[in-house]
């Protein structure tokens, strides 16, 4: 049975002629798991808000939206609130109350459920989602993954029949993201809840989805089972968004059925024969740019150590990446390198000088630049142009961002914000660039561009910490893992990822045992004689 049907939907925001949605048609059956893919700014979020009546923005709307056969206009707010669950991107902003139990009760309180029913349901849901251990906690203390799970659990307390998720994993680390996605799959298969999910990481969602819709310029351009759609989009620009296995299939002659998961990719690859070996390039050892010697750090006297004798050496001009799960101390370590925090034991040495003894001016003028996790904290003014200065403006124009100069930094997309922040930092002419999660919330197109930009910055030493293993594998000269407050000695990414079993790229998983040292799609293609 059709649960959601959208016919010929057109929408433009009030005060603008631009049609954000332009004749969009989509039909979803009960119990389906549908993934919506589209580039940033294609109107996905607008579509989702239009489906959810309470969130409908001001503007001109034409066409029809039917939920369970009932027109949106006739749907009461209560029916919409109870029938359609909605989860957004930011785990931080969606949590309303200060206690976990209260957050779980919030939805039901709004709908006026009796108190006894609320208590019973809260208990049931927190068991199902495994929330019980932190049930009484303050919501501030939760990790990003826990917060997002709590948001989902809170939505599920009223058991909506349609669940809409707008990039729910964009701000989570890969392990938390996978956990979140498998919870959604569980809801879909165990409870039969219809899921409409918008997601950049097709790698993880395609194998579990029933259908995928690709959205372009306010319309659905492809809609069907993941295999069908992947085959269709493999020719165009969307080739880049395909899962690794499908990319290999696409470049290696397209024999047989298109593989989507790692398992299918391995099967596919095992039928092929490798032609080239991947050679691991020698480590280039130059001048030492940055050094950490036995660094210990904790935030408060009575808290636990975050860094426990971390050692690292970064050479001049290299790109050095550090990966690791949430709470491994990556970001803290970067703050120590940036001189924002000081170790209580050990030394951070930047180009021969102890950071603790350097004045701010010496440390930050033409020396170190730090890109924080939230690039918006770099901006204080209301206009991008005011932030960048004359020189920055001309760079921005060259990068095709001339149009954005007059907008508010908060109105830019994640990729654009990241770019502006980089321009602003490069304006300071730094010798060392420290990047904290530079790919957070970027789609694969912006990610590729960022990778290219970083590689082109010759002579600047870059230290980046990231969750994004694919990105780390493709850009870095050396890569290492942070664990238990220590930094493991960094080998080349080829060694690092091919030796890891769990914490590694999809390409390395597909190629394991068949093509040693291959960790990126390009390397596998090279190994099998399919360059370009």
């Amino acid at each position: 049975m059709e649960i959601l049907s959208i016919k010929d939907l057109t929408f433009s925001y009030s005060g603008s002629d631009k049609k954000v949605l332009n004749g969009l048609t989509l039909s979803i059956n009960e119990g389906e798991f549908v993934v919506l893919y589209g580039k940033t700014g294609c109107g996905k979020s607008t579509l989702f808000k239009l489906i959810k009546k309470e969130l409908t923005p001001a503007g001109v709307e034409n066409g029809e939206i039917l939920f369970k056969g009932k027109n949106k206009k006739e749907l009461s707010l209560r029916e919409s609130a109870e029938g359609i669950g909605f989860v957004m991107q930011s785990p931080e902003n969606q949590i309303v109350t200060d206690r976990v139990w209260h957050e779980l009760a919030f939805y039901m309180e709004n709908l006026g459920y009796p108190s006894e029913k609320i208590s019973a349901r809260v208990g049931e849901v927190s068991n199902y989602f495994g929330i019980t251990p932190w049930f009484g906690k303050d919501t501030v203390c939760l990790s990003g993954g826990e917060k997002q799970l709590l948001t989902l659990a809170s939505v599920m307390t009223v058991s909506p029949s349609l669940l809409i998720l707008d990039e729910p994993t964009a701000r989570l680390d890969p392990i938390a993201a996978n956990g979140f996605l498998s919870t959604i799959k569980r809801l879909n298969s165990e409870l039969g809840i219809t899921v409409l999910l918008c997601e950049h990481r097709l790698e993880e969602v395609l194998p579990i989805a029933d259908k995928i819709a690709v959205m372009e310029e306010g319309k659905i351009s492809y809609y069907g089972s993941p295999r069908e759609v992947c085959k269709k989009i493999a020719d165009g620009e969307y080739e880049k968004v395909l899962p690794t296995a499908a990319k290999l299939w696409n470049k290696m002659g397209r024999e047989g059925e298109i593989p989507l998961s790692v398992k299918e990719g391995r099967e596919y690859l095992s039928k092929m024969e490798s032609k080239n070996q991947i050679t691991v390039t020698e480590e280039k050892k130059g001048e030492v740019a940055l050094e950490m010697k036995n660094v210990w750090f904790r935030y408060e006297k009575k808290e636990e150590d975050v860094l426990k004798g971390a050692d690292a050496t970064v050479f001049s001009g290299e790109i050095f990446s550090i990966v690791g799960g949430n709470g491994s101390g990556k970001s803290t370590m970067l703050k120590l390198l940036a001189g924002i925090k000081k170790p209580y034991r050990g030394k951070v040495i930047i180009r021969g000088k102890n950071v603790a003894r350097m004045k701010k001016e010496e440390l930050y003028r033409n020396n170190i630049a730090y890109l924080p996790q939230d690039p918006l904290t770099l901006f204080l003014r209301d206009k991008v142009a005011d932030e960048l200065g004359e020189e920055g403006k001309s760079i921005a124009e060259k990068m095709g961002m001339g149009k954005l100069l007059n907008s508010h930094p908060h109105d830019l997309s994640g990729g654009e914000q990241q770019k502006c922040a980089l321009i602003k930092l490069l304006n300071l002419k730094p010798k060392i660039l420290l990047l904290d999660e530079p790919t957070k919330g970027l789609d694969c197109f912006s990610k590729e561009e960022l990778g290219r930009t970083l590689k082109s910055l010759n002579g600047i030493t870059i230290v980046l910490v990231t969750h994004d293993l694919e990105f780390a594998a493709s850009v870095s000269d050396r890569c290492t893992l942070m664990f238990g407050g220590e930094i493991l000695p960094p080998p080349r990414p080829e060694n690092f990822f091919s030796e890891n079993n769990y914490y590694t790229t999809s390409a390395a998983r597909i190629g394991r045992g068949m093509l040693p040292h291959a960790v990126t799609t390009e390397q596998i293609l090279f190994g099998y004689g399919n360059e370009n």
């Binding site: 709004n110 703050k335 630049a369 204080l380």
Partner: protein, 297 residues
């Protein structure tokens, strides 16, 4: 919050505690009788130790100078009273005013300490619970802002740290400091506003604003609470009646009344001591029950 406090007062309904403490604060604030003040002060200190643990010793360092200053300031300003002790700048410093200063500052201190107890036991969530029962929307405004404060505070530190790496080098001078702080604050507002809008959307998406909002009852009034409240009410009413009957009349001016020990007055003292000791008894009782239950494991 230390564990002892949690055990001792978690068993009580917030309303029970709130009413008890309000009673303590009202009686403590409005009865100017040396013995009453002494009783109130003594138990306030004891309960503070139960609630705050050792850290209370540090706080006492802050409270004591305040007490002394208030006690001394009265005879300097007020010159009424019949027994001059000595003269300062030609004005008499009287015995009565000094006694009044000591008693009244003891009273302020006891009220401050009872408020400190309030702060320790009646955490925000309990207050929100009490407010939210009668005034749900205001309760919600309170809840949301309580959730936003730590979030914004973290953001504030984040912005400050990041901006310090961007060449904001000259940070000396009062005006420059204010200027910098105000600029950061205005940036914080922008950030906070954006996230508040998203919070609002998440609330509407979950049906906030529909008619007929209910609320989860977290604390239930149990028989024990009723016993506690009845005891409290009895002593409170009895003391009020006692005041109306003039049992605890006390005069400082023109001469200080000697403390009488008639049966009515003594009864008042005992009742007030009983009422002030309720939280202490509660803590001891919980401790005993806990020890007993543990011994059976």
């Amino acid at each position: 919050m230390n564990t002892k406090e949690k055990f001792a007062y978690a068993a009580l309904h917030p309303l029970t505690v709130a009413l008890h403490l309000l009673g303590q604060i009202i009686l403590g604030m409005f009865i100017m009788h040396p013995v009453f003040v002494a009783i109130s002060l003594f138990f306030a200190v004891v309960v503070c130790f139960f609630v705050c643990g050792k850290s209370f010793l540090k706080e006492l360092k802050f409270y004591l100078p305040f007490y002394i200053i208030v006690a001394l300031s009265n005879p300097l300003f007020s010159h009424s009273g019949a027994t001059p002790l000595f003269f300062l700048n030609g004005k008499p410093i009287t015995y009565e005013a000094t006694i009044y200063g000591i008693v009244s500052s003891g009273m302020f201190l006891s009220v401050l300490l009872w408020c400190r107890v309030w702060n320790g036991i009646m955490t925000e969530d309990k207050l929100v619970f009490l407010v939210g029962r009668r005034l749900p929307k205001i309760g919600l405004v309170l809840t949301i802002s309580l959730r936003m404060i730590p979030r914004f505070r973290n953001k504030w530190w984040e912005i400050r740290e990041v901006q310090s790496t961007l060449g904001d080098f000259a940070e000396s001078g009062f005006i420059a400091q204010i200027k910098g702080a105000v600029k950061l604050f205005s940036a914080l507002i922008t950030h906070a506003m954006e996230s508040a809008v998203e919070t609002g959307m998440s609330m509407s998406a979950r049906g906030y604003g529909l008619k007929g909002r209910s609320s989860l009852v977290l604390y239930k009034i149990r028989p024990y609470d009723i016993v506690f409240m009845c005891g409290n009410l009895f002593t409170f009413v009895a003391i009020i009646v006692g005041i109306a009957m003039g049992f605890i009349d006390y005069q400082f001016y023109p001469t200080v009344t000697p403390v009488e020990c008639g049966s009515g007055t003594t009864g008042m003292f005992v009742l007030f001591a009983m009422q002030s000791a309720l939280l202490v008894l509660q803590a001891i009782k919980e401790e005993a029950v806990w020890k007993y239950s543990r011994s059976r494991i």
